[in-house]
């Protein structure tokens, strides 16, 4: 007769198998983004994640096993050895405090090492790889779009970050309104984007590719639509793209920027391109925030319904 606890375990094993198959179905594709670093910085982050997990599992797996073993072995029904007076052991105490302490020293050293390597302000992992002068990109978040300004090229984009491969990219970031978080999984370390403050970030990708970036810090009603595409292209393609954007009819002076920075939900994260951009636009935004410029958000922000959903809703209203 299977004990009731074991019966429950076999009862759940089939659905659990199904669930784990469902979860692992994405393993073969790149959907587990954090497992697939695309540049040296993300590789460092991934490397230290593995190190940390392995070290911790060295301690926690034996404990987990011990708990399961003791639960089974010392169950009252099994009549195993019973020692009600054993409640202290100096040797075990020294081990319990000592071994984790050594582990923390080791992990602490790894923590320091990795913090220097992927420091957003000056990642030491990049210094060695630098050959070209880095590309400067200024990032400004509004409610709720990403504006990428290329001060050296005099162009700007909305929700589209285009950079050449094999060249370090230095970012300066600020916000017009509330705090956001610059995040491109697989590519760049996260850094907060704050109004009236300037932060920095840096990365360098050696292979062409397309990635997605977004804000990781809640910023209001349009937050869910704050994605931006990140395109790593060859240097030739990059120069061509810059020339093409410099010929763009749309201009972005500070007055137009102020218009752009009004609360806008960019459903679908549609990109836009501007030429004739003031190299000093970033500083103007920063100084304006410092002197009290705000972009108040109304209590209700209308979300433009995407055309397809509107048609579907209209269709269902008729049926």
């Amino acid at each position: 007769m299977i004990p009731s606890r074991h019966r429950r375990i076999t009862l759940f094993s089939r659905p659990l198998l199904f669930l784990s198959a469902l979860l692992l179905s994405g393993c073969s594709t790149v959907s587990y983004r954090l497992f697939h670093p695309a540049d040296s910085i993300a590789s460092v982050e991934w490397h230290y994640t593995i190190v940390d997990v392995v070290v911790m599992l060295l301690i926690t797996l034996p404990i987990t096993f011990m708990i399961a073993l003791f639960m089974w072995r010392y169950s009252k029904k099994r009549n195993a050895a019973y020692d009600p007076n054993w409640s202290h052991s100096l040797g075990l105490e020294l081990l319990m405090w000592g071994v984790p302490f050594i582990v923390v020293v080791v992990l602490g050293y790894y923590s320091y090492q990795s913090a220097m390597l992927v420091n957003p302000y000056a990642p030491t992992v990049l210094k060695s790889a630098e050959a070209d002068a880095p590309l400067q990109v200024d990032v400004v978040t509004t409610d709720w779009q990403w504006v990428f300004i290329y001060p050296q090229q005099g162009i700007a984009t909305i929700d589209d970050l285009v950079v050449p491969q094999g060249r370090a990219v230095n970012l300066r970031l600020t916000s017009t309104s509330v705090v956001n978080d610059f995040f491109i999984p697989q590519v760049a370390p996260m850094i907060d984007v704050m109004p009236g403050m300037r932060t920095k970030d840096a990365f360098e990708v050696n292979h062409a590719g397309n990635y997605e970036g977004y804000s990781a810090d809640f910023s209001g009603a349009g937050f869910s639509w704050m994605q931006f595409s990140t395109r790593i292209v060859s240097p030739v393609d990059f120069d061509a793209w810059v020339k093409q954007t410099q010929a763009s009819p749309a201009k972005l002076g500070y007055a137009q920027f102020r218009q752009l920075a009004q609360p806008t939900v960019n459903v679908g994260a549609k990109p836009a391109y501007f030429s004739g951009v003031d190299a000093d636009l970033f500083n103007q935004v920063y100084n304006a925030a410092l002197h009290g410029t705000v972009y108040p958000v109304p209590a209700e922000v209308p979300i433009p319904v995407p055309a397809k959903t509107a048609a579907a809703q209209a269709g269902s209203a008729h049926s």
């Binding site: 669930l19 997990v53 010392y74 052991s89 913090a115 209700e300």
Partner: protein, 694 residues
């Protein structure tokens, strides 16, 4: 001087208008109908059985720590249920709103909740669960058990205890009011600046959140003073510090954290309130403000706060495991040392909540190492629990299952916490659902220990055991939900999903989101088993009646007195001889010894003052939220007047005479919490005397 807020304002009603009531929102209408029906289901029997007087005399005006604790726990459980419904709504929205082609109903572009509504739901989920569910339940448990464990008759300040209770209830009622009148904060339970400034949160939502937390924090701080004074000053003779039960030790360290950290939250919210009401610039982006200051102040409170929640949970596990392993707790002195080490180090780690804010590698490394150091005493606790199991005689009652389940959750939470403690790793998972899964493992371990404590101490308070079969079914379904939901959430964290999204743009996440929804389904099923457990237990209460020691293998002082505990706790204050006093008495065959005579002692009277302060506190909070200045001002002045009036009061309580005590002790009728203490005055008036007023 007063900051201008958008929208109408009138001197009589402040910002309140008929439009503040969301009568066009079908979800809120449903919630309102549900709440009204639930309220009527409670109120109608009370009126029908003519129990309003009883309710007022025995519960609403009580100063008895056990009744106060029970009301705390009931409040917490109801708020936990609402918080759970919020969580269910979050999960359902996310599974429905995945991808640009996902449909929208009820006026939402995707899913069924427009962003403003969704944002309020996750904000209230966090606020309710942390501040109004877990905190009241743990406070209630401490209230009931600690005086019993140290052999005292009540807390050091019984009336202040009741004031703490009603102030906490006021905070919860403000959050409930925000559901039906106005709206709640959309900025999360943390409420980072400048999102919570008037420019970016112009409605009353943030004000509701601010005053709910501010008012209940006063209650929590007063409770901390009370607990510390009780533990330090009211221990039974012989209860030396090295004999104190471990749950009392953890309660002491918890309340030291509480007393010292809650004022910081008060300051942070007061400064934010000044920004929102007086137009100052403490946390605005410009004009001299520093938004980082809010983040730092909030988390300087916020990290000790989570230890404020988890240390009592550790204390509960430390009581339950020895009882059901029939062994003393392994390494008692180290456990106490580890508790205070955790409490102390918890002050040094707050920056790990915002490694990405750009503090630089040196500062980040300091806080990283400090965070990892806190894992050492926590690990010591886990080892000690495991060694308590070793060579014990384990019985797997429902409380024991919950305690061991908490242990497994602590291990997973610990590993993922150590991952988050390293800045380089943190830069990839900050604010992602990986962090959410990590801290839910931790708060779920607190929930597990709450359920363990409820099952463990229920027989002590009410005199009968909870039904084991449905209790275990509750445990298994709840644990299944936990496993399914959070494994999927960790996976989503590695897939790069961030938090607080009402619309998800990545359709690759759909399988994992469906798995999470299945997890919520198991949680919902577990609610049924919880209700069933209560129903069956109450139905079978005579069959499951227990004596003083409900489990037979209990070790601490609270199991010495009757079950249910009479209103005076102990007829004679026990003399304590050792740690684990009851086990010692069993071993030396003196557990059944009875007192040879009784002595009179003093008991406090019930009073309506705490309830009055609570009602006026609600008036103050509501008035401040809606900027109804006359209501807020009048309430505040009235509170001050009531307190001054009470300080002149001649009511010094009453003396319970030795004869009355002997009669109560020998009577067959159980004297527990639901009994009428009026029963005493009706039949024993000649034996009780009012204390002389000086």
């Amino acid at each position: 001087m007063l900051v201008h807020v958008p929208g109408p304002w009138s001197p009589l009603f402040g910002r309140l208008t008929l439009d503040s009531i969301p009568y066009s929102n079908p979800i809120i209408i449903f919630a309102f109908a549900f709440s009204v029906i639930a309220g009527l289901l409670v109120l109608v029997p009370v009126v029908y059985y003519r129990k309003i007087g009883y309710l007022f005399r025995e519960w609403l005006t009580t100063v008895d720590h056990k009744k106060i604790g029970i009301i705390y726990i009931l409040l917490g459980l109801v708020m936990m249920f609402r918080g759970f419904v919020d969580g269910m709504m979050i999960r359902t929205q996310q599974v429905m709103a995945d991808g640009p082609h996902s449909g929208g109903v009820l006026g939402a572009a995707h899913g069924y909740l427009p962003p403003e509504h969704f944002d309020q739901i996750y904000s209230s989920h966090g606020t309710l669960m942390i501040i109004f569910a877990v905190t009241p339940i743990l406070t209630g448990l401490g209230n009931i058990i600690v005086p019993l464990q140290i052999g005292a008759r009540d807390m050091a300040f019984p009336m202040m205890n009741a004031i703490s209770l009603w102030l906490t209830t006021v905070g919860a009622m403000l959050v409930m009011a925000s559901l039906f009148i106005g709206d709640f904060s959309t900025a999360g339970w943390v409420g980072l600046a400048p999102l919570t400034e008037v420019s970016y949160s112009p409605s009353v939502g943030v004000d509701y959140w601010l005053w709910a937390i501010q008012i209940s924090s006063i209650g929590t701080t007063l409770n901390s003073i009370n607990m510390i004074a009780t533990i330090v000053g009211m221990r039974a003779p012989g209860m030396r510090w090295d004999r104190l039960p471990i749950f009392t030790w953890t309660t002491l360290s918890t309340n030291i954290i509480g007393l010292t950290s809650f004022p910081i939250l008060g300051v942070a919210l007061a400064l934010l309130g000044a920004d929102r009401y007086l137009g100052t610039h403490f946390f605005t982006a410009g004009l001299g403000g520093d938004l980082m200051l809010y983040t730092n102040l909030f988390w300087i409170w916020g990290h000790p706060e989570v230890y404020f929640l988890v240390l009592p949970a550790f204390g509960i596990i430390s009581e339950v495991i020895p009882t059901f392993a029939e062994k003393p707790l392994f390494g008692y002195i180290t456990m106490v040392a580890a508790t205070f080490a955790i409490a102390g180090i918890s002050w040094l780690v707050w920056l790990h909540h915002f490694f990405t804010m750009g503090a630089g590698p040196y500062v980040n490394t300091f806080f990283s190492v400090a965070t990892m150091l806190v894992g050492i005493p926590t690990g010591v606790k886990v080892f000690n629990w495991v060694f308590t199991l070793y060579r014990g005689r384990l019985t797997f009652t429902a409380p024991m299952l919950w305690a061991v389940g908490a242990l497994f959750l602590l291990l997973i939470g610990g590993v993922t916490g150590m991952m988050l403690a390293i800045p380089a790793v943190n830069y990839t998972v900050h604010n992602s659902v990986f962090v959410i899964a990590h801290f839910h493992c931790m708060v779920l371990l607190i929930a597990y220990s709450i359920f363990a404590a409820t099952g463990y101490w229920f027989p002590k308070v009410f005199g009968f055991r909870l039904d084991e079969r449905s209790g275990k079914a509750f445990f298994y379904t709840f644990s299944l939900g936990t496993a399914v939901l959070f494994i999927a959430m960790f996976a989503l964290g590695f897939m790069g999903e961030t938090r607080r999204l009402d619309y998800l743009y990545n359709t690759q996440w759909m399988p994992a989101l469906v798995v999470e929804e299945i997890g919520i389904g198991f949680y919902t099923l577990s609610c049924y088993y919880f209700a069933k457990m209560l129903y069956v237990s109450i139905r079978d209460r005579v069959k499951n009646r227990v004596g003083a020691d409900a489990w037979g293998t209990s070790r601490t002082l609270e199991w010495l007195t009757h079950s249910p505990v009479p209103f005076y706790n102990f007829a004679v204050t026990p003399q304590v001889n050792t740690r684990d006093e009851l086990s010692w008495r069993y071993a030396n065959k003196v557990a059944d010894v009875q007192p040879d005579h009784f002595e009179a002692f003093h008991m406090p009277n019930n009073t309506v003052v705490p309830l009055l302060i609570g009602i006026l506190g609600f008036g103050f909070g509501f008035g401040m939220v809606w900027r109804i200045w006359w209501m807020a001002g009048f309430s505040l002045l009235a509170i001050i007047a009531v307190v001054i009036y009470r300080s002149f009061a001649r009511d010094k309580g009453y003396i319970l005479t030795a004869e009355a005590l002997a009669k109560l002790e020998s009577a067959n009728k159980p004297l527990g919490v639901v009994a009428e203490t009026q029963y005493l005055s009706e039949s024993n008036t000649s034996h009780m005397a009012e204390a002389e007023a000086h």
